[in-house]
């Protein structure tokens, strides 16, 4: 059974691109179109890796990331953030949420600013799943 990679992004073109990269590497891509759907699919599918956008309808990647990392059941799933939002803003937002709600959150396994090229995404996916 190939490892599952959950792609959470509201842009269907980005999902298609990411899915094809993941498939090329021999993994099974599964897709969600917003943060809420993404959270449901994490619980249902138990993915081995998540490629997560930040700006989405219903729930942002920032809140989803925090929800995952504060839940012991999902905290160990590696996450690659793939977004137009800068890494600096992402980390600052996590710090702000930690200040309000408590509980510091670790940085994601990888952070790629959009647009991602296939090579960069492939290498980060492999790094997360194989430690390569």
């Amino acid at each position: 059974m190939p490892k599952k990679v959950l792609i959470v992004d509201d842009d269907p073109d980005v999902r298609l691109f990411n899915s094809s990269v993941v498939q090329e590497l021999g993994y099974l891509p599964i897709e969600a179109g917003d943060g809420e759907e993404g959270e449901q699919m994490v619980a249902q599918e138990g993915p081995d890796l998540i490629i997560l956008d930040v700006m989405m309808p219903l729930q942002s990647g920032i809140r989803l990331y925090r929800a995952l990392k504060t839940d012991p059941a999902f905290a160990d799933i590696p996450v690659i953030i793939l977004s137009g939002i800068s890494r600096r803003s992402f980390m600052k937002s996590q710090e702000a949420l930690a200040a309000f709600e408590g509980g510091a959150i670790p940085a994601p396994e990888a952070y790629i600013e959009k647009p991602a090229d296939a090579e960069t995404l492939s290498s980060q996916v492999e790094k997360c799943l194989r430690g390569a």
Binding site: M55, P57, L58, Q59, S60, I62, I85, L97
Partner: protein, 290 residues
Amino acid sequence: MTTIKKMLFASRFQDLTFDALEALLDLRAVGLDHVVFLYVVERDKVAMYRGLGYQKSEEVKLKEVANIHFIEWAEQLFEQGMEVGVHIVVGTLVQQVVRAAGMEEVDLIVIGRPTRSLLEQLLSGADISALIRRTRIPILVYKQLPLEVAEKGHPFTRPLLATDWGSAAGKAQAYLMGLKGIVEEINVIHVGREKDLDSLSAMKVQQYRKTQREKLQAICDAFEAAGIQARPHLYVGDAYEKIESAAREWRASMIVTGCSGKGSWQERIIGSIPRLLAEKSDVSTLIIPK
């Protein structure tokens, strides 16, 4: 207590800019922690053209340009610990505002001043009345605050409540009552119709004034009991003109009005008071649908 936890900010960028958003961030005092951005690529900009077909490349370009704006804004909000959502879609403005507001279950819709002509609006169905008829969510039609008002606060600091004594106006009153944390002072206005006074004696006119003032004072007393300063004002004449001039006279940061949403055909063509205020007034207008 009125809660504004989630706000839909439907921007076309030239009408609603980041400073408008910043002016509304004081709503965090009444629970705001989630802003949903909406940009609608109007269908006619990417429509089918003879020989060219659907303008897909134009759609992609317009969406990416909107995305660039929203990324800048979203970063500012994310860094303050706020939640941000984004919808960038092709369609008609009213339809997409209603769709996004329903999907996201927002508490407030913020839009810029409608810029289309009356005829264009009637043809496209994109006018403010169409929006009011299709949603029960309060709608803030945002206009840039005059400098002397902006210096004193945000749109909710000094609202002017226009009442016609109807149930929609009562709902608007209750809505403002729940915003105690951010509303500092309210001016309450009723505009009497001149024709109602035509055949009255001086004493009857005075009696009319007294009765209307008492009703206004009762509203003000309710606000004061809730901890919000309030002043009553009675005007007589054309409702739109008098509300507009009272807003300037009392340096209102925003006009608040209820709306039944069931305008007559005549109203739909000529314009209801909320619609006129939304479209013509230079002051931001908060419309509370019934």
